[in-house]
């Protein structure tokens, strides 16, 4: 791992910290009063705030986990060079695609 990847992983972790606590708080809040799926969607659909909140979360997770996966694949499977970079990018883009799809599904009208 070089300095660029190291900084990307640390900075994305810094972004994730408040978002993880926010997400946990939302989950605890949502189950306290027994919110239904419809009630949750009513609050998230069309909300720019929730789109930005979970959109940032997905971008940060995609960067952070792809770099972490790169390290694991390199150390465990001994993959290196172009193949290693391709695995990292493929993993990151996949997570980004899946996450973005989920965020759009619950926030876009």
């Amino acid at each position: 791992m070089n300095l660029g990847l190291y900084m990307a992983q640390r900075l994305s972790a810094m972004v994730m910290v408040p978002l993880v606590f926010g997400h946990l708080g939302v989950m605890i809040y949502a189950i306290q009063g027994g919110l239904t799926t419809a009630e949750i969607l009513e609050r998230t659909m069309g909300s720019l705030w929730w789109f930005l909140f979970y959109g940032c979360f997905v971008v940060a997770v995609s960067i952070h986990s792809a770099i972490g996966m790169r390290v694991i694949v390199h150390e465990v499977l001994k993959l290196r060079g172009l193949a290693l970079e391709l695995v990292m990018w493929a993993f990151g883009i996949s997570i980004l695609f899946l996450g973005a799809r989920a965020v759009m599904a619950v926030t876009m009208l």
């Binding site: 791992m1 070089n2 300095l3 190291y6 900084m7 640390r10 390290v71 150390e75």
Partner: protein
């Protein structure tokens, strides 16, 4: 497996219960096996004493490396019961398991023969990590005064007693999993140079340890600090390099390059 009777070789009389079962790695390169020797146990005896006894009394072809025998030269490090140790300062009584010792060549390095590891990759990484001192002044200029209380000097002093024994390198799981990783000793050396005001281009040291095989691969497992026989702290040195390189990444300026 081969067994040797020390009673036929040793001049001192020893009883059966005073015998150490010592397995020693024998072989060249990647191939070999452990060979068991019976060695007389002594009241005060180091692992290096045991290896030397085998070589002098049983098998002169046993290859191993040592020089000073007092923990200064860093030549005699080996794997003892699976853990890297400086054998000249390791008492047998403290490391035997059920009266048995297993002694092998250092982990994470190629084996030349028997207990002698090839140290070339270890020292090559010192150079790759910017470990060569590049002075900021020529010999024609007056020597730069450095206060012992200077914070940089204090930090550098923490790592300068490294004896290059490679115990930390053998203990490091990151080196085991990423053979190109520079390793704790080379990075600690880089940290001392980064903190040395006499070094001409300290940013060059940071750049050298910030590449793909550099300090950012460290998982902070701490085996280097745990096993360092001189009780140095390469783990903190690597953490220092990470902090300094991150700071340089975020606030790179002309000052940082000086």
């Amino acid at each position: 497996m081969y067994f040797h009777n020390p009673l036929k070789n040793d001049r001192c009389a020893v009883s059966e219960e005073d015998i150490l079962e010592v397995s020693v790695w024998r072989g060249t390169g990647d191939t070999g096996e452990y060979e068991t020797f019976q060695v007389p146990a002594r009241e005060s005896q180091t692992v290096l004493d045991v290896v030397t006894w085998i070589q002098q009394q049983i098998d002169p072809s046993l290859s191993y490396r040592y020089a000073c025998r007092v923990g200064m030269c860093g030549s005699c490090a080996m794997m003892v019961n699976g853990e890297p140790r400086w054998t000249c300062r390791t008492h047998v009584k403290k490391v035997t398991r059920d009266g048995a010792l297993q002694i092998g060549p250092l982990r994470n390095l190629p084996t030349i023969k028997d207990l002698a590891a090839d140290m070339d990759p270890f020292f090559d990484k010192w150079i790759a990590a910017g470990g060569v001192h590049t002075p900021s002044r020529s010999r024609a200029e007056p020597i730069a005064e450095v206060s012992p209380e200077d914070p940089g000097r204090v930090e550098a002093n923490k790592g300068i007693e490294c004896i290059n024994c490679s115990v930390c390198y053998a203990a490091c799981d990151t080196v085991a999993n990423t053979p190109d990783y520079l390793g704790p000793a080379a990075l600690q050396r880089a940290w001392t140079l980064y903190n040395d005001s006499k070094v001409e281009d300290r940013q060059a040291v940071l750049d050298a340890v910030s590449k793909n095989n550099g300090c950012h691969n460290c998982h902070t497992q701490g085996s280097c600090t745990q096993y360092c026989p001189n009780e140095l702290d390469p783990l903190s040195a690597i953490a220092g390099l990470k902090r300094a390189s991150a700071k340089s990444f975020l606030f790179k300026s002309k000052e940082d390059r000086q």
